[in-house]
Symmetry: C2
Subunit: 302 residues, 2 copies
C-alpha cells in the first residue's frame, strides 16, 4: 500500500506480509480514511489466512487499532465469516469503487456546477481505496474552486486532498482550519461536503476533528452541509452521536514542547446535516438509516 | 526586543538602530500583537528622531507594515506630534502596563475563579509590552485550566501563549484550532477571552483568523465570549467591521507545496461579543465606544 504519511513529498510503498503489518500501518496512519481502513483490515485477514495464522486473533488486533470508524469492525466481521477471505477483500475493493462512483453521481446532483465547495480532511481515493467519498462527490460536481481545510494536526487536507486535487486538475486553495468562518461570511462558500467515520442511527456523524465546527458555521450562514459516506459507515447499533467512541491520539502530534490534547474526531449533530449521500442515494432528515445498511449488504455480495 | 519568531525554542534578542529595523521586525512578526506593534512603532520614531532621520518618512514606512491593527497608526500619530518622541514611547510603555493591569482586574471580575477558559492566538505580555490583554485577564481570574488554540498558521498559541502560561504556572493544554467545537459540546469551556486588533465603533472586532469561528461556537453553546483590548484598539472612524482592512499574508506560511490563502484576521460581529473589557471598565452591547477613546487619551498623557 501507499504510505500516506510520506505524501506529498514522496510516493513510498509498503509491503504488508501479515495482519500485524497491516495493523501497524493503520495505527500509524500509513493508511487512513474509514473505508480504506476497512478494506486494509479485510486484506489483513486474507494475508493471515494465507499464512495459516490465527485469524480471530488477527481480527482482534486489527479491530483495536482505531476505535471511531465503524467500517473497520464491519469489514472484519465479514472477512471472518467469508469462506475465502481473499475473495471477500477483492469483492469489497470492487464494491468500494462501484459505491464511490454511485455516491459521486448522487452527491454531484446536489451541487450546481461551478460552485465553490469547502471540504475538511481527506476523503479522496486515498481514503477509500476506490474513488473517494466526499472528494469524489466534489470532483464529480465540477466545482469552480475547492477550499481545502488543512486539517491539523496531521494535515490530511493540506497534504493529501491537495495532492489529489492537483492530480485531478481541480482548482483549489489550502486554508488554515480556522478560516472557514471568514470564507463563509464573505460569501465564498456555496456548499460543504465532508466524509464520515461513523454515522449513528439518528444521523449524528463522527468525522475528523473540526467537522462539527464547519457544520455549525455552515448552519449559521445557511450553506448546505453534506455528508458523503458508504452505508458501511452507518452503525444502526449506535443510537446517537454521544455513544460513539472518540479516539484521542498522542499530544506529540500537536506539539512536542507543551501539554496538549488531541481528540481525533468530533460529532456533528444530525440537525446540522442537510443531507447524507451514500451509494444508494440521498437521505434527508429526519434520518432513518437501517434501510441504507441493507442496500449495502446487497451491493457487497455480488 | 525579544525575537518572537524564535520562541519557544530560543530566547533571541534583536537590536534595532532605526525605524527601518523596527519596520522589518514588525513585518516578519518578530514583534506582533496590536499593542506591542504600536509601542514598537513609537520607539521606531524615537530611534529615527535621535539619529536625525526623516520621522515623517519613517512613520509612513512603519504604518505600511501591517494594515489591520489600528494601534499602529494611533501610536505613530501621537509619536509624531510629541515634542520628545522618546519620552512619548516611554510614557506609552508605562501606560500600557497600567492599562493591562486595570484591564486584568476588570475582566477577571467577570470570570469565576476555577473556570476553564479558552483563548485564541497570543495576548500575553509578548503581545503588549505590558502585562497582556486577554491573557492578563485569564491569568488574573485564577482559572483551573486554559485551552490554548494553537492558532495556525504561525502557532502564536502553541508557541507563545503556551510559553507564557508555563512561566506563569497556569495549567493549560494546547489544542488544534478545530477542537473548540467539541470542547464546548462536551461542556469543557466556561468562558472565552480573546484580544483584538481593531474594534469598530459598533463593536465589530477584527482579531486573529479563527476568532469569529470561536465566537460563533460560543454563542451556539451559550458560553460567554469576551474581548479584552486597550482603548487604543478602538477605531471610532471605522463604523462597522466590514470596513476594517484584513491583511492577507504569504501562502508560504500555510503550505509551501500547494496553492493556499492566508487571511491573517477575521471579523467577529458585535452581536456575538458578550462584553468588551478595556482599561476603563467593561462595555456591554449595544456598544458605543467613543467615550472609551477619550478615557485612553487621558491615561497616556500623564
Amino acid at each position: 500500500m501507499l504510505d500516506q504519511t510520506a505524501l506529498p513529498a514522496e510516493e513510498r510503498w509498503l509491503r504488508c506480509e501479515c495482519a500485524a503489518d497491516v495493523a501497524d500501518a493503520i495505527r500509524r496512519l500509513a493508511v487512513r480514511g474509514a473505508p480504506a481502513i476497512g478494506l486494509a483490515a479485510a486484506y489483513g485477514i486474507a494475508l493471515e489466512a494465507r499464512r495459516g495464522g490465527d485469524v480471530e486473533a488477527a481480527a482482534d488486533l486489527l479491530a483495536a487499532t482505531r476505535p471511531t470508524a465503524v467500517n473497520l469492525r464491519w469489514a472484519l466481521d465479514r472477512a471472518l465469516a467469508a469462506a475465502d477471505p481473499l475473495a471477500f477483500a477483492e469483492a469489497l475493493a470492487s464494491a468500494q469503487l462501484e459505491q464511490d462512483r454511485a455516491m459521486a453521481r448522487h452527491g454531484a446532483a446536489l451541487i450546481p456546477p461551478g460552485s465553490s465547495v469547502l471540504t475538511h480532511c481527506n476523503t479522496g481515493a486515498l481514503a477509500t481505496g476506490g474513488a473517494g467519498t466526499a472528494l469524489g462527490v466534489i470532483v464529480e460536481s465540477r466545482p469552480a474552486h475547492v477550499w481545502v481545510d488543512e486539517t491539523r494536526p496531521l494535515l490530511q487536507g493540506g497534504r493529501l486532498t491537495a495532492w489529489e486535487l492537483e492530480r485531478a486538475g481541480v482548482p483549489f486553495a489550502v486554508v488554515p482550519d480556522a478560516s472557514a468562518g471568514t470564507l463563509m461570511a464573505r460569501g465564498l462558500v456555496d456548499a460543504v461536503v465532508v466524509g464520515a467515520d461513523r454515522i449513528a442511527a439518528n444521523g449524528d456523524t463522527a468525522n475528523k476533528i473540526g467537522t462539527y465546527t464547519v457544520a455549525a458555521l455552515a448552519a449559521r450562514h445557511a450553506i448546505p452541509f453534506y455528508v458523503a459516506a458508504p452505508a458501511s459507515t452507518i452503525d444502526p447499533s449506535t443510537p446517537r452521536g454521544d455513544a460513539i467512541p472518540i479516539e484521542e491520539r498522542s499530544p506529540d502530534e500537536v506539539t512536542g514542547a507543551f501539554p496538549a490534547r488531541n481528540f481525533a474526531f468530533d460529532v456533528t449533530p444530525a440537525e446540522l446535516i442537510t443531507a447524507i449521500v451514500y451509494e444508494g442515494g440521498v437521505l434527508r432528515p429526519p434520518y432513518s438509516l437501517e434501510g441504507a445498511e441493507v442496500a449495502h449488504e446487497d451491493l457487497v455480495r455480488p
